[in-house]
């Protein structure tokens, strides 16, 4: 896929952060990988009090004109364009160990929206050490017929790490340890398989965008705690105080055999999905128009995200301070919030391309 004048999508970053663990509230591993990548490219780099990673990168200085003021902070005449916050969340859904039983089994609670029906028989990587644990399930031979027609509540499930006693288990896995799906990134065709594409896809798109000095002043925010109530971005937006914001997401595909056609979209592989509205946000109409026009001009295929479902950091950013015009652009993923998600790597490049050219048009004119 040609980058069409935009920076190239960094699949290596996606692979690294998809494989690394980062449940909401425990994003350190993701943050340190992204900070390492961002360090060389940005003008300033901070971790805010909640743990979000905030990077500021200014456009290349314009060729000095006679009589023009120069230097950072000179925003007169609007030549530098609006200050844009680009945001993607680092956290993923997972588990937290809440108790260690005397037989050495671990009880857990879910962090973020995980369907309890996908847990029995699943494998998790626990803590920074990545100790393996399996979610036990009673064999069908021993399960009464009536039980098989019921969903096992998550509270009745446990992780088995092979420990024989509470002491042995606690030594390796103290209460409060996070656990992530045990999934390894893989590629075939243009399909990519991995965990946490919601929103490591957005994180990697954002990291790709700041490889070069952008057309407008950009603050890149890799936020924390999106999956537990859009919390990191709320604080970050107040700190950044942008003129407008674009949130980069990995969103859910609607594809499913047998589903009615009006529920089948968006599709993996058919370009970035644009949000009109979701449970948290009415997308700023003029900003959305601008993104659409840019897509048409640069021949980037786009599609609509299904209106009314889901919610993103943009919902919080839009209502911070005096209000921030905000939009959401997403890489469509199948099977998010489950162990193994799919995305089409062409969609990731298209998203980088679309956002890059959108920033170019914003430099020329905004609002």
């Amino acid at each position: 896929m040609s980058a069409n004048g935009a920076p190239k999508f960094r699949e290596d970053i996606l692979q690294e952060i998809s494989n690394a663990p980062g449940v909401s509230g425990g994003e350190e591993a993701i943050r340190s990988i992204l900070a390492e990548y961002a360090r060389e490219n940005v003008d300033s780099l901070e971790v805010d009090p909640m743990g979000s990673l905030v990077a500021r990168i200014d456009p290349a200085p314009a060729r000095p004109r006679a009589g023009a003021k120069s230097g950072r902070g000179s925003r007169n005449g609007g030549r530098r364009g609006p200050h844009v916050m680009l945001c993607a969340h680092m956290d993923e859904v997972g588990l937290m160990v809440t108790a260690v039983e005397k037989e050495g089994r671990l009880r857990f609670r879910r962090v973020g929206g995980i369907d309890p029906r996908i847990l029995p028989g699943q494998v998790f990587r626990i803590g920074a050490e990545g100790i393996r644990g399996v979610v036990g399930a009673l064999p069908p031979h021993l399960t009464p017929r009536a039980e098989r027609d019921k969903v096992t509540p998550a509270d009745d499930l446990y992780l088995d790490i092979g420990a024989r006693s509470r002491e042995e288990a606690e030594e390796r896995v103290p209460v409060g340890t996070y656990a992530v799906f045990d999934t390894t990134y893989e590629a075939w065709g243009t399909t990519r398989k991995g965990k946490a594409f919601d929103d490591r896809a957005g994180c990697a798109v954002l990291a790709s965008l700041i490889q070069r000095r952008p057309p407008v002043p950009v603050t890149a925010v890799w936020s924390v705690q999106e999956e537990v109530g859009l919390r990191g971005a709320a604080a970050a937006a107040r700190r950044v105080q942008p003129d407008l914001a674009i949130v980069l997401e990995g969103t859910a595909s609607g594809e499913s055999p047998g589903a009615p056609p009006d529920e089948q979209y968006p599709f993996m592989g058919k370009g970035p999905a644009l949000t009109v509205h979701d449970r948290t946000l009415m997308v700023h109409a003029r900003l959305l128009d601008r993104i659409e026009e840019t897509a048409k001009r640069h021949k980037v295929p786009t599609q609509w995200k299904r209106p009314g479902v889901g919610g993103t950091d943009a919902g919080r950013i839009a209502i911070s301070g005096a209000g921030v015009p905000s939009a959401v652009v997403s890489v469509v993923c199948r099977y998010i919030h489950a162990p193994a998600a799919f995305l089409d790597v062409r969609d990731a490049q298209r998203t980088v391309t679309l956002i890059w050219h959108t920033l170019e048009t914003l430099r020329k004119e905004w609002p």
């Binding site: 088995d160 075939w188 399909t191």
Partner: protein, 359 residues
């Protein structure tokens, strides 16, 4: 070929569980087992149904009595049932899964070359009210390979084998979790036992059979046909027993690490059971007695009623979470089962027969 001699039980388990082989499609695992048993047995062969026989010749005077060991090499899995528009695969199961353990699981579709796929899930964002309260049935599940419909149709016609894709997981205490411990762990017990018997010859001939189609359900086909072929004087099945798990009644399970589980019940010949217990005691080995009131549910069921009746016993390897992708065993139990089996067989008197002549 890598030398098989000196492999530990854990190494064998990792290797043997990784091989595919749903009931009726055991060819690939059979090929590997012919090699594996070839390195420890006097002779290996494959019968017309596909079961693999490995012979250890006894040092008694011919004609020697014959002991049949059986562990099934098939493992539960799926077959492609239909390719849906969009390239999604519907499957039918071979062997009994609880469909509630499948959503989100990765599988291998055994096309050539194999394709990775996942059992699709619907994220909570898109679910309808109340949807999460209903368990997901196999009919609702489908596989996504992330490949175009055309390619999927070409590579994965109806009947293509599908198996859970899960590399062995090392847990604390050297425990290992993988799909297919049922009954590849039993195959490993036979491999280890033959290794021991090759250097400490029994008076009996021993034929270890890696059987086909135990999980098919209607009949333990491989065990029945092997028993008819071999007319053994004794049959011992090695299979997994339910390990200790929350939610299971006491008496239905044996704890991991507690050694072999020796079945008791109508499927078990009492003299053979006593002999196994004596061997365990001689080896100072822990064991449990596992009550099987209506049958053992193993190859021993069919061996017992083959030809004119065969005395049978079952050695069980404790295994948690049977028929899921995380069947968990302790390699130490596998070692113990192998040592017990080898000891019992090498102590068998050349004269012993199960038929009692009373007059």
């Amino acid at each position: 070929m890598v030398s098989n001699v000196g492999r530990t039980s854990a190494e064998w388990l990792r290797y043997i569980t990784s091989l595919p082989g749903v009931p009726g499609q055991e060819e690939a695992v059979a090929r590997e087992l012919l090699k594996a048993f070839g390195s420890v047995a006097d002779r290996v062969e494959q019968d017309r149904m596909g079961s693999v026989y490995a012979w250890i010749q006894g040092d008694g005077k011919p004609p020697r009595p014959r002991a049949l060991l059986a562990a099934h090499m098939d493992k539960i899995g799926f077959l492609v049932r239909a390719v849906e528009p969009g390239g999604y695969l519907r499957v039918t199961e071979v062997g009994g899964f609880d469909s509630r353990t499948l959503p989100g699981k990765e599988v291998l579709v055994h096309s050539s070359p194999p394709m990775v796929a996942v059992f699709a899930t619907r994220p909570p964002h898109l679910q309808k009210k109340g949807e999460a309260d209903r368990p997901i049935q196999l009919e609702d599940l489908y596989l996504d390979t992330g490949r175009p419909e055309r390619e999927v149709k070409r590579k994965a016609p109806v009947g293509t084998m599908v198996t859970l894709r899960q590399s062995p997981i090392e847990l604390l205490g050297d425990r290992l979790a993988a799909p297919g411990m049922d009954d590849r762990a039993g195959v490993v017990v036979m491999l280890r036992a033959l290794e021991l018997l090759a250097s400490k010859r029994p008076s009996w001939d021993v034929v270890a059979v890696a059987t086909v189609e135990e999980e098919f359900g209607a009949v333990c086909l491989g065990a029945r046909t092997a028993a008819e072929n071999l007319s053994p004087d004794l049959g011992i099945a090695i299979d997994v027993s339910h390990g200790d798990m929350p939610g299971a009644r006491e008496g239905d399970t044996v704890p991991l690490g507690s050694g072999p589980a020796l079945s008791i019940g109508g499927n078990i010949h009492p003299v053979v059971l006593e002999g196994l217990k004596r061997s365990a005691k001689a080896l100072s080995m822990p064991y449990r007695v596992e009550p099987c009131p209506t049958g053992s549910g193993t190859d021993a069921m069919d061996i017992q009623i083959s030809s004119s009746g065969v005395p049978t016993a079952v050695i069980g390897i404790p295994c948690r979470y049977m028929h899921t992708g995380v069947e968990t065993v302790e390699p130490r139990d596998v070692d113990r089962c192998a040592h017990l089996l080898a000891h019992y067989l090498s102590e068998l008197s050349p004269e012993w027969r199960a038929v009692e002549v009373l007059k």
